[in-house]
Structure formats: C-alpha cells, structure tokens
C-alpha cells in the first residue's frame, strides 16, 4: 500500500496548510495515476475539501508542491493556472450551479466561455452531456426547481462539458438517498468508461467509493494515513479503516 501505480496525473509533495492556528494539512504527499478513479476518504471537516481546493488552485498551500500532469501549480500566475484549469471539470458539493441560468445554460457555460462554436454545435454538446446523465428532459428548468440528485447530475454534465482530462468530485453523494447515490456512482463509472479521464473523488461514503474506485486514500490528522486498492482497504486490519467500515464512534477517529 505505498502508492498508486502508473503515470501520475497529480502529485502532491509535503503539502501543508493551517487556518487560525489549526494544522489542516500536515505534509500531505501522494500520487494519482492517469486514467484512474481515486478517492480520498476522511471524516467530515478533516480537510478533504481543503485538499481538493488546493488541487484546483482555489487555495495555495503554506508549503509543498502540487504537480498537475508534471507542472507545479503552486505559485503559478492566474493566466497559467487558467490554462491548466481548462483541463479540469469540478463537481462541487452542492453542485454550485448558477442560480440565474437554466440547466441548459449551466452546461453550455464552460463551452461558450472556452470554445468558439456555433450555437447549434453548443446545443448539440449540451444535449448529449445532459442525455448521458439522464437530464435531457429538464433543459429549461432552473436549479431551484431541481432535487439534490438532479442538481448533482447537471453538475456532472457541466463538469464533463469540455471533455476534461481531470474531474474532481467533492462529496458527490452527500445528502442523497441510497438509490440516488447508486445512480450517481453508476454515472461516475459509465462516464469514466467512455472518456478515460482521471477522476478524483473526496467522500466519506466508504462502502460506495470502494465499489467505484481504483485507488483509495485515507486522510487522517492532515496526512494520508492509509492507501491502497479497494481490495486491500477491505481486507485491511488498520484500526482507522476498521472503524470507518464499521461506522463506529469508537476508535482512532473519535470526536476531538
């Protein structure tokens, strides 16, 4: 369980970050293989979302390096960073759809921003992406007219709109019922199969992510404490993993 095998798409080296005296990331180092589905697990408030924000370049670490496809994004200017971000798709925790735009306009947004296409072509891409996530019939609805699961599906369609090389999912199934969670995981697998993209998930839904991931990491006390394939995680005797899988309040992950 020492590291994800294969060519790295993302590499973090000793990333540290503190807020108001609290060390949230305390020397995080890992590699994420190209074309894989990798999940970072951890407790709520344990720094998973902070970690994803660092990888997207929304926040800068106090120290350390973050390599995206070989380029260190720490200290990069906004123009360079935007060049890298054009290769990203991000599904935020609550989908972060633009309230003032319809479902169709939300998915069309990144296409209109970055590709010089005719409106007909834009619509064709948007309809294709929305059909893939089963939202093709809700083109003209606004985000406030959608359920949580529907918003996530539209968010996924928007994240995939530019056929990115790398997609980040921040808690893709939080706040969803078990059926909708299953639908989202199926969509993650289906879209990944079609596009051969690198997917990075952060989640605390261990049973769900073990079924979809190629590689799983556990963030604990600001560091990657355990990592391995889903099979290795399932058979792990590590008390952290055991407590997480047992959904128990007793163990190293106790409240503090």
């Amino acid at each position: 369980m020492s590291g994800s095998p294969g060519i790295p798409m993302i590499r973090l080296e000793n990333v540290c970050k503190h807020y108001n005296g609290q060390q949230v990331l305390d020397g995080v180092s890992f590699e994420i293989r190209k074309g894989s589905i990798t999940t970072i697990m951890g407790r709520s408030g344990g720094g998973k979302s902070v970690l994803i924000r660092h990888m997207i370049g929304l926040e800068a670490p106090d120290s350390g390096a973050i390599y995206i496809d070989g380029e260190n994004i720490v200290g990069m200017g906004s123009r360079e960073l935007n060049r890298i971000r054009r290769r990203f798709g991000v599904l935020f925790q609550d989908a972060a759809l633009f309230d003032s735009l319809t479902v169709e306009e939300n998915v069309a947004f990144p296409i209109r921003e970055h590709l010089r296409l005719r409106e007909k072509q834009v619509r064709a891409i948007v309809h294709d992406k929305l059909d893939k996530v089963g939202m093709g019939e809700h083109l003209h609805k606004f985000p406030n007219e959608l359920s949580g699961g529907m918003r996530k599906r539209v968010g996924l369609a928007r994240a995939l709109a530019l056929d990115p090389d790398l997609v980040f999912f921040d808690e893709p199934t939080s706040g969803l019922d078990p059926i909708t969670r299953g639908v989202i995981y199926d969509l993650i697998l289906d879209t990944h199969r079609e596009m051969d993209t690198t997917y990075v998930l952060v989640s605390h839904d261990i049973h769900g992510v073990l079924n979809v991931s190629d590689w799983v990491m556990m963030l604990f006390k600001g560091r990657i404490a355990v990592q391995g394939t889903p099979e290795e995680i399932r058979s792990s005797t590590d008390p952290l993993i055991q407590q997480f899988t047992a959904v128990s309040g007793h163990g190293p992950l106790s409240m503090d």
């Binding site: 924000r53 997207i56 370049g57 929304l58 906004s78 935007n82 060049r83 971000r85 054009r86 990203f88 991000v90 935020f92 925790q93 609550d94 972060a96 759809l97 633009f98 309230d99 947004f109 990144p110 921003e113 970055h114 980040f168």
Partner: protein
C-alpha cells in the same frame, strides 16, 4: 488581570476600528482597481453589462418616477408653506427645480437605488460566494471579477445619472401639478421661475454627483457581497452593511462634492 484586559480592550478599541476601516478600504480599492482593469481587457462581458444595465437602470425607472413625483409634490407643498409668508409663491417652481436637480434627484435617487439594487447585488454575490458558484467560475478558468463585478460597477455608474434625471423630471411634474392644481400658482409663473433660476450647471453638477454615487453604491455592494462569508447570516450581514455603508458614503460624498462645487462657482 481581568480588569487590566478589560481596560486594554477599551483603549485598543479605536485602533481596532481604524485598522478594520483601513482594511475594508484597502480591499474595496483593490477590488475597484482590479475590476476597472478587467473592464478594458478582453473578453468583454457585453451580455452581462446589458443584463446589469437592465436590472440597475430599466427596472428601476418606475421606482424613480414614483419616488421622484412624491418628492417633488412634497417639496412644492413645503416650499409654498415657507414662501407664502413672504408673498414669494412665484419662487416655488425655481426652488423645487434647484433642489431636485442639485440635491434631491441625485441623492434620494441614489438612496432608492441602494435600497433596491445595492441590497440585491450584495445578497446575490454573497449567496454565490456561499454556494461555491464563485469557486465554480474560478475552476472553469473564468475571472469572477471580470464576469461579476466589472459589469455591475460599469452599469451602475452609467445608469445612475439617467435615473437621477428621471427622478428630477418626475419631481418637477409632481411639483407642477400640486402647484397649479392645488396651491393655485399660475402655470406661467411656475415655469418662468424654473427658466429664470435653473442653470444648466445645476443639472450637470447633479449628474456628476450621480456618477460618483453609482460607482460608490456598486463598489460597496459588490465588495460586501463578494467577500461575504458565514452562510445565510453572513449574507444577511453583508446586505445590511452594503446598504448602510453605501447610504452613509453617498451622503458624506455629497457634502464633500457640494463643498467643492460651491467653491468652483
């Protein structure tokens, strides 16, 4: 020990306040500079500018007409009440015209825009910040200041002078109707007063003020909303602060500009 810390906190309070104000001023000015720079750099957000112009300008016209008309009507009544004592009823039209063009149009118009538009700008941007919509823009390699702030500041700065003109015009119509139909002032006398005493510089000075008010209102509202944190309470606080700070700044800057304009005339 506790008494000591109590007194030290009282002694330090003014310095903390000054530090807070300087911090706010610094971030607001930085936001202004960044939004102005992005206004002139491509991609030009024409669609967003037009949408904001519609929201700040076109959709506020009715409010300007309504509040302007009543302001003009009450100004005529109060003007008549004072001037009637000296037999100077003929001056009502001139007085209302000067008051509306120099002060009431720009200032009350701007305060009404703060209530309607400034609060909405702060609340919308604050809500976007808290629901990660601004992060989503950044993650899509879209500059949020260029997309969200620059069009709002530009639209408000352009729209405010027109809104102040509409306010003043509606006020004059209201004052004319009250003066001629209710107070019994001759229509010709009313209009002669306006023609004789209202100088084009009165109108231009009012318009210059409106440009500054529009810029201040949009900058304060965008600044408060864009940096809002702390969920729905944070958004509520940002909206309140935007309205209060923008209103106070409009009145303070009005005094400063009036002082400068008096000197120059």
């Amino acid at each position: 020990m506790r008494t000591l810390s109590f007194f030290s906190s009282i002694l330090l309070a003014p310095f903390e306040l000054v530090r807070f104000c300087l911090d706010e001023l610094g971030t607001a000015l930085l936001l202004l500079v960044r939004s102005l720079m992005r206004m002139v750099l491509p991609p030009y957000r024409v669609g967003e500018f037009v949408r904001q112009l519609d929201f700040v300008g076109a959709q506020t016209v009715l409010l300007m007409v309504l509040t302007g008309a009543f302001t003009g009507m009450v100004s005529a009544l109060q003007g008549y009440n004072g001037m009637h004592r000296y037999g100077a009823e003929s001056m009502v039209g001139a007085t209302v015209a000067l008051a509306l063009s120099r002060e009431l149009g720009p200032v009350i118009g701007a305060l009404m825009v703060v209530a309607r538009v400034g609060s909405a700008m702060a609340a919308e941007l604050g809500s976007m910040r808290n629901s990660q919509q601004i992060d989503a823009l950044v993650s899509m390699a879209v500059d949020p200041i260029q997309y969200l702030i620059s069009p709002r500041i530009f639209a408000a700065t352009v729209a405010l002078p027109f809104l102040a003109l509409i306010f003043s015009f509606a006020g004059m119509v209201g004052a004319y109707v009250v003066s001629t139909a209710y107070l019994g002032i001759d229509a010709g006398t009313f209009m002669a007063g306006v023609r004789d005493y209202l100088d084009p510089s009165d109108i231009t000075q009012g318009l210059i003020k409106s440009v500054v008010f529009g810029l201040l209102m949009a900058l304060v509202s965008c600044h408060k909303g864009y940096y809002a944190t702390g969920g729905s309470r944070g958004v509520a606080a940002a909206t309140t602060e935007a309205v209060v700070v923008a209103s106070v700044l409009i009145l303070v800057s009005d005094y400063l500009m009036t002082t400068l304009m008096f000197r120059s005339t």
